[in-house]
Amino acid sequence: MILQIPLVYYLILAAALFCIGLFGALSRRNAIAVLMGIELMLNAVNINLVAFWRYGSPDPIADQAGVVFALFVITLAAAEAAVGLALVIAIYRSRDTVNVEEIDLLKW
């Protein structure tokens, strides 16, 4: 019943979500908002993986490569968010700012 929706719709939706996430990562001033943009991009990638598993794999029950891959992407996103936010908090405690533009110690 579900295959009335062509694969293209999911890909366009994932592309749109990816671009919104990229825009969030590039244009936001607050470090936590940048991390949120990255989470959106990772979600867009997951939608593509699952869409290709559902439409592309010959036997979706036995060969669930897409789902397993998406599961590992989720795990990685969680670990990345944990360490990234720890960094943001450490920077906030030492430099009292989370504004990405003010954290430019390496620029000489």
């Binding site: 019943m1 599961l71 795990t75 969680a78 670990a79 936010l85 720890a86 908090i89």
Partner: protein
């Protein structure tokens, strides 16, 4: 397989309207007499000092302890996500089924032991 989730969608829609109805009814029935004193934030009696410059004095700083609990929670939440497919996996006859999860869990017990040794878990 999808019909069940259509019903869950119906349930979600009903679950959202379920709390809104009493809120609207209450909005109609309750008395509305806001006064300056009633509207001040609740400080159990003492006069609140919201000085003009940083009206944000209300935000009190927090120790990092909360964030460490959040990290531990994320790590063990992901472990749980891998425990459930293993628990219902079909090849449950072989000994490897137990050994694989034993390795997975022992590494994470190591993580808990590390947190315990570094007394991360203390409520400082």
């Amino acid at each position: 397989m999808l019909e069940r989730y259509a019903l869950i969608g119906l349930f979600a829609f009903a679950a959202v309207t379920f709390p809104i109805v009493p809120l609207i009814l209450a909005f109609l029935f309750r008395p509305k007499k806001p006064t300056r004193l009633k509207q001040s934030t609740y400080e159990c009696g003492i006069e609140i000092q919201n000085e003009a410059p940083e009206a944000e004095s209300i935000w009190v700083q927090f120790r990092v302890q909360y964030y460490i609990y959040a990290i531990l929670f994320v790590v063990f939440d992901i472990e749980v996500v891998f425990v459930y497919p293993w628990a219902v996996a079909t090849n449950q006859m072989s000994a490897f089924w137990v050994i694989e999860m034993a390795i997975f869990m022992l590494i994470l017990v190591g993580a808990l032991a590390y947190a315990w040794r570094k007394n991360l878990l203390e409520w400082v």
